[in-house]
Structure formats: structure tokens, C-alpha cells
């Protein structure tokens, strides 16, 4: 179901245009508001819905299989680190509120800047290790797994299957 935009809420800010992975949210040159130019390339990913500062964008299920009269709304809050959903059924019998975390850390603060960490040694460069390894890839303090360390070899052909 492709997205659509409420005329009275959209102010043409372009956040949706900026974020849409499919390049289908565009600004209409006459109304100067956003709209979905290519509904059959929309997969209802909700990226634009979440990015809209005015809750001006909504979704109406694909016309070829989704009847009218339903609603799935969302509010995503990076500062609070949560996303809130509300699902309403067509027949009005189900109305669900669902809340989920989107991050456990203050946004963007806990990712290392690799230009500022100590440079890798020649030994590390010549090894198979990646940044921060062998942390997390072993149960013990050993080195990276190899065929040899794990008692394995490669055999050609169906016999090895």
C-alpha cells in the first residue's frame, strides 16, 4: 500500500523526499507538497512516514489486495529511543498499541571513530583478524578459527559431501 500525503498537514519540507529508498516521494510543483509519484515501486517501508515531522504521510493498503478502512500509524522517537505503533482493523474489532525500543544508547554516541583508535600492527595486518578481534569470536582466549585449529580439511568432489 503505497503512501499518500494529507494536503492539510504537509508543508513541503522534503524530509520524505530525502529519505525514501525508492526515490518515489517527490514535491509536486503545483501544490508544493510531497506525494508518491510511483505507488507500484513503494513497498510500504514506512521510512517517509517515520521521517515526516507533521505526521502528514500515511499508507493505504495496495489496491489490488487490501480493502479500504484500516490504519497502521507510527511514531518514532530517536531521543527517547522508542517506536510506537497503532494498528486498527477494518472491522474495528482490533485496535492495538505496540511499543518497541529502537536503540539502547544515546543516538550515535557509542560507535568508535576508527581514525582515532591505535593503528593496527604489522602482525595484525598479516593476520586474518578484523578490527576488535579476536574479541567475541571465541569462547576461550584463543586465536581466530582456522581449518587446522578446528581439525578440518577441504576435499574436492562429491565424496566430501
Amino acid at each position: 500500500m503505497p503512501t499518500f500525503v494529507y494536503m492539510t498537514r504537509c508543508d513541503g519540507c522534503g524530509h520524505c523526499v530525502d529519505i525514501c529508498p525508492s526515490d518515489i516521494m517527490h514535491i509536486d510543483t503545483v501544490t508544493r507538497r510531497a506525494y508518491n509519484i510511483e505507488p507500484n515501486m513503494c513497498c510500504e517501508c514506512y521510512s517517509c512516514v517515520k521521517a515526516c515531522p507533521h505526521q502528514a504521510i500515511d499508507v493505504r493498503g495496495y489496491a489490488d489486495f487490501a480493502p479500504l478502512g484500516h490504519s497502521v500509524r507510527v511514531k518514532r522517537d530517536e531521543e527517547k529511543g522508542v517506536i510506537a505503533w497503532r494498528i486498527k482493523f477494518r472491522n474495528g474489532k482490533k485496535d492495538m498499541d505496540l511499543l518497541a525500543p529502537i536503540t539502547t544508547k544515546p543516538w550515535g554516541t557509542c560507535i568508535p571513530k576508527l581514525s582515532e583508535v591505535p593503528a593496527p600492527s604489522k602482525e595484525q595486518r598479516d593476520s586474518q583478524l578484523l578490527f576488535n578481534e579476536p574479541k567475541y569470536i571465541r569462547m576461550d582466549d584463543g586465536d581466530i578459527h582456522t581449518l587446522k585449529s578446528n581439525g578440518l580439511k577441504m576435499v574436492q568432489g562429491v565424496e566430501g559431501y
Partner: protein, 622 residues
């Protein structure tokens, strides 16, 4: 034309396409190349691009080695069984031995991973899957990539790779255009890591009209991983191995958490278990090596996904559809019910929309499943992609030419969908492959392999002309007609896509023929693809947005041709349930226990096909 040419010079590592593979590459490249120039070119906005744009509710590739759960070779065996043997076990082992490092770092960065309160380990969904609240998975890894990259160019549709003119078969960067400004972008680079996506929308979808957007893989996955690599003359592997997904009907909502965590199960329209009755005949068709019912029963050896599809397809064709997912039991537990809905909201909102629209409450009604149209990609449960070198400490000689994840073109690396033979990488494995490619690319540069690259102005101008040709073509012929989209001199991108989907569906085993094809059909398909290629020279773009769609369909076309060539080459039915060669309906291990490798000559367009040996990892003393 008024579009500017913008040249970004002296790049060391260009990441073309920054989904999970590309972000992993950009992030890691900075560590091994702290003094290097790292640039990202991305078709959309890296905060929401690639297959994970919408989010994910699970990480499907996590060993849990530090919790004593699995070793890398366990995952290799699993992927090998699931793909009927046809995998690159060196690449898989390599990915598996590193993947946990990526996943634990995601948690450090703030990605909410669920923990098992009893064990303290990550909450398992299945043996390889862990559960996450992953709505912001992509924005979080994008932050990591942005911290590492010197520059991020969003909204650049990369159309071609640049080739070095001083040394044959060496990459020299890439070109493309900005889908907002229309400007021509030239990236001159010593190495390129292709992190672009696999292909949705090359087979006619089940949906019609608007619903064509509700594909299983993202509609913006335009096969550019393959279009770019094939166009540069890189060898490809396993391109016949397209995938068909059994998913919730119409919305294509995922079933993994439902099967594994919620313990829902399938039944036919009569309320019966149906899978097992198809297995004896199937066991005969594929051989006991690949389906041993007794062994599977005793040892919980997994049954390959394609074979379960086969049972599904045959049950429906026998008139006992629809196939239902039995949710009514699990959903009585309010906690499981909530997980069931969160699972969609985290990664396939459209399925929640569909159930709300059709009043399907899985607590009181068992929803329908379907099998999808085929998709071509290399990171989910299938392994299409480039023929890449493996790591030096694992790979046998046929699989090794110096730099990990380097294609057969020098300086050209892959990650995620771009790398062939590595199914079951999923998000975390793709990110890991990006990291591996980045380290290798830095080494390639440090070894002096990227020196002396020459890109002539002629090459840059030739590509520029080629890129904007659809707009020129439109301008020349548009006014020959009064109005509308019917023109004797051109087709528009949508018309080209429709033709591609129809012929792939009918000749290369799409959904309307129950995934069936044969040599005759494939040859007709190839002929039609050649003619379509001629017409793609006459594709018309009214504006920059259509120019984007024009280049997407050209990449999809190159991908499709490779799929048909590979399908023709492999004279057997290796993956019943993904596709059938009606003229060779059995698994033929005598002739086809091998990987298929192709190369399209960039000048002539001619294909050469070869078999590559298949190696398996076994116990040293086995």
C-alpha cells in the same frame, strides 16, 4: 546538456552501494587504512537504503561461539545442506568465523538485541537466528559508516565501473549520476567494493497494479550488484540459483520467527500435514545424499528449503490449497501474539497493514501462505554473485588469487549480494563480508597494486554520453507523437520492465509456469533478451527519475541474461522448489556436483561458461 561533471579524484576505496555489505566495508576500511581516502556512493540515503532499510526483527546469522553454541564449520554444513551442496565453503567458513564480532559490536553501538534471561546469551529464535528490536538497524550501521568515510555521496545511481587503461582487467573507479541534480559523477579510485543489491522485479510478480511494489526483496534492489560486475567482465557464479520464498500471502511477511520461535506450523486446505507425503518421491528425485527422511527424523538434519517449497507447490497444484500457517494455537499466548505482530512491524509493515485491511486476526484465523516469484540475490538462502577469491589460510588453489573477496577483476571487491556462493550470510554476514573486503582492499593498495591507473577523458565522456542517452532519445522522438506513452521509436522504463518480467516468467521458470523451464524455453528466452537489449538502447527517460529507472532495468536485464545462461548450462534440477529443468528432472551428481562460473565479454556480449570444482570441509580424520 546543462548537467555538470563532478570528479572525485584520488580515492583509495570506493564503496558502491551502502547497504549492510557496503556499510561494513566503509566502517572497517578506516581501521586498516587510517590515511586512506574512503568514499561511499549510494543510490538512496544511507540512513535507509538497501534490503535492511525498513529494519529487521532478527539477525539470522550468529554463531554464538563465545557462548559455546556453534563453531564456524557447523554453519558451513548447514548452508551446504540447505543449498544442495552448491556453496563456497571457504568463503562461508571465513564469514562464519568473523560474524559474531560484528553482531556483538552492533550491540555495543546500541542495537537492541534480546537476551535469554536464563542463560544471558542472546535470545535464540532458531539455531542460527537471534531476536532483535531492529527497526533502526540500518540507521545505526549507517552511523558507523559515516564515522569512517571521508565523504558520503547519497542519491548517486552508479551505472558503470571505470576500467584502467594502462593494465587490462583492472578497475579504476565508477561513474553515475545524481538522481536529484542530474549531475554526472566520476569517482576515480584504486579499489571499488561493490555492496550493491541483488534483484527483485526481474520475474513477473504475483501482484498486479500497485501491489507490484510489495515484492519480497526491496523494489529498489535492482540487480546493480550484478549489472556493475557483469558489465566490467567479472566472472559470476551460481546465477541459476534464484530463490523462491514461502511467505504470508500478498504481504510477503516473514515466516522465520513464526516457525522457529512461535512454533506455528503449516497445513493444507483440508487441515492436514502435507509435507511428508511428498518426501519419498522427492528422495528418489534428488537422491538420499540430499534428502534422507530417516536421517532427518533421527538427527534433526534440516530439510533443504527448496525441497519444502517443492512439497508446498505440489500440494497446491494437486488442488489441496491454500496452505495455511497454523497460528491460532500460539497466538492464544498474549506474549507470543505480541511478538508475532512486532515481527512484522520491525521488518515488513505491509503485512500488518494487509491483515488490518482484511481483518485477519491470526488469533482466530490461520493466515494463508504462498510461494513467491523468484528473486536473484546472494545473501539470503541462496548464493548468486561474483566469483571471488577466498582467504589465503583456507582456500584451495582454484578459489584463491591473492585478496579476500576480490572478484576476477583486479581491485574490484564484493560484499553481500555481490559475492557468489555465500548463502545464509544475511545482514550480519553481509556486513562481515564488507569488513573482510575492506581489509583486503587496503592490503591491495599497500602492496602497490593500485598504482599507475590511467582513465582517459575519452572513457569518461563515452560513459557520460551513454548514461544520458535515454534522455536524449526522449527529447528527439517525444514530439513525433501527440501525447501518451506509445511511441514507435522508444519504450519507457516501465514498459521495458514489464517485458523483462513477462519473458523471464514464461521462459525462465517464473510463477505462472510453476517454476518450470527447459532448454528450448531458455533458448527462446535468450533470444528475446537479446532483442530486448537492442530495445534498451532505445529506452527513453522523460526526466532524471526515469533515467534512474532506465538504468535499473538495464542492470536487471544484465542480471537476467546471466540467470538464463547459467540455468541453460546446468543440465539438471538441482533445487526442486526453486526451479525445474523439465528436460533434466533429477539431481545429477555425476556431472553437476560443481559450481557454475560464467563470464560475459564486455565488448562482444558473448558468454563463456565453465565448471569449477566444488570443495567440502570435512574432519581431518574423517
Amino acid at each position: 546538456m546543462a548537467y555538470k561533471t563532478i570528479v572525485e579524484d584520488n580515492i583509495d576505496i570506493l564503496v558502491a552501494g551502502a547497504g549492510l555489505g557496503g556499510t561494513g566495508a566503509a566502517f572497517e576500511a578506516r581501521y586498516w587504512g587510517q590515511d586512506k581516502k574512503i568514499v561511499i556512493a549510494e543510490k538512496a540515503n544511507i540512513d535507509r537504503s538497501g534490503a535492511v532499510a525498513q529494519g529487521l526483527y532478527a539477525i539470522n546469522c550468529y554463531m554464538g561461539t563465545r557462548f559455546g553454541e556453534n563453531n564456524p564449520e557447523d554453519h558451513v554444513r548447514y548452508a551446504r545442506i540447505d543449498l544442495m551442496g552448491m556453496v563456497r565453503e571457504d568463503l562461508l567458513f571465513d564469514m562464519a568465523r568473523h560474524v559474531d564480532s560484528a553482531v556483538h559490536q552492533f550491540e555495543e553501538w546500541g542495537l537492541p538485541l534480546m537476551r535469554n534471561p536464563k542463560t544471558g546469551a542472546y535470545q535464540r529464535e532458531g539455531r542460527w537466528q537471534i531476536m532483535i528490536h531492529g527497526e533502526s538497524y540500518k540507521p545505526i550501521v549507517a552511523e558507523a559508516a559515516k564515522k569512517s568515510a571521508d565523504k558520503v555521496f547519497n542519491r548517486i545511481c552508479v551505472t558503470h565501473l571505470l576500467m584502467d587503461e594502462s593494465k587490462p582487467n583492472r578497475v579504476a573507479g565508477a561513474v553515475g549520476f545524481n538522481v536529484r541534480t542530474g549531475n554526472y559523477h566520476v569517482f576515480k579510485s584504486k579499489t571499488v567494493i561493490v555492496g550493491a543489491g541483488g534483484a527483485s522485479n526481474i520475474y513477473k510478480p504475483r501482484s498486479v497494479g500497485e501491489g507490484a511494489g510489495r515484492v519480497w526483496y526491496a523494489p529498489w534492489s535492482s540487480g546493480s550488484a550484478y549489472g556493475l560486475l557483469i558489465g566490467a567482465g567479472a566472472k559470476m557464479t551460481q546465477m541459476e540459483n534464484r530463490i523462491v520464498l514461502a511467505r504470508f500471502k500478498d504481504g510477503y511477511g516473514p515466516v522465520g520467527a513464526y516457525f522457529l520461535h512461535l512454533k506455528t506450523y503449516t497445513q493444507n486446505g483440508l487441515g492436514e500435514e502435507y509435507e511428508s507425503k511428498w518426501f519419498p518421491a522427492l528422495e528418489e528425485m534428488v537422491g538420499k545424499r540430499y534428502l534422507d527422511i530417516e536421517a532427518s527424523h533421527l538427527t534433526h538434519r534440516p530439510i533443504p528449503t527448496c525441497l519444502r517449497n517443492h512439497a508446498f507447490i505440489n500440494e497446491v497444484n494437486a488442488g489441496r490449497g491454500p496452505i495455511h500457517m497454523v497460528t491460532m494455537e500460539a497466538f492464544q499466548d498474549p506474549h507470543l501474539e505480541e511478538i508475532g505482530w512486532h515481527n512484522f512491524l520491525g521488518m515488513t509493515v505491509g503485512q500488518a497493514v494487509l491483515w488490518a485491511a482484511t481483518d485477519v486476526d491470526p488469533k482466530y484465523e490461520n493466515p494463508e501462505l504462498t510461494t513467491s516469484e523468484p528473486y536473484v540475490m546472494g545473501s539470503h538462502a541462496t548464493g548468486c554473485g561474483a566469483w571471488c577469491s577466498g582467504p589465503e589460510d583456507i582456500s584451495p588453489p582454484e578459489y584463491y588469487w591473492g585478496y579476500n573477496r576480490m572478484t576476477t577483476v583486479e581491485g574490484l571487491f564484493g560484499a553481500g549480494d555481490a559475492v557468489g556462493g555465500t548463502p545464509h550470510a544475511f545482514s550480519s554476514g553481509s556486513f562481515t563480508e564488507g569488513r573482510l573486503a575492506a581489509k583486503a582492499a587496503c592490503k591491495y593498495i599497500d602492496d602497490g597494486k593500485g598504482e599507475g591507473i590511467v582513465v582517459s577523458q575519452e572513457q569518461i565522456e563515452r560513459r557520460r554520453k551513454e548514461i544520458y542517452k535515454p534522455m536524449e532519445h526522449y527529447k528527439i522522438y517525444r514530439n513525433e507523437i501527440t501525447a501518451g506513452s506509445v511511441n514507435p521509436n522508444y519504450i519507457n522504463p516501465r514498459q521495458a520492465l514489464d517485458r523483462l518480467q513477462k519473458l523471464m516468467d514464461e521462459y525462465a521458470g517464473g510463477v505462472t509456469v510453476s517454476y518450470m523451464t527447459n532448454e528450448k524455453l531458455l533458448n527462446i528466452g535468450l533470444k528475446k533478451l537479446k532483442i530486448l537489449e537492442e530495445d534498451l538502447e532505445k529506452i527513453a527517460a522523460e526526466n532524471i527519475h526515469e533515467l534512474l529507472r532506465a538504468w535499473e532495468v538495464k542492470h536487471r536485464h544484465l542480471t537476467s541474461e546471466a540467470v538464463v545462461q547459467h540455468t541453460l548450462f546446468r543440465k539438471e534440477t538441482r533445487w526442486p522448489g526453486y526451479y525445474y529443468r523439465g528436460d533434466a528432472m533429477r539431481v545429477d551428481d555425476d556431472n553437476w556436483h560443481v559450481l557454475t562460473v560464467s563470464r560475459r565479454d564486455p565488448v562482444t556480449g558473448e558468454y563463456t561458461m565453465e565448471k569449477a570444482p566444488l570443495y567440502h570441509i570435512v574432519d581431518e580424520n574423517g
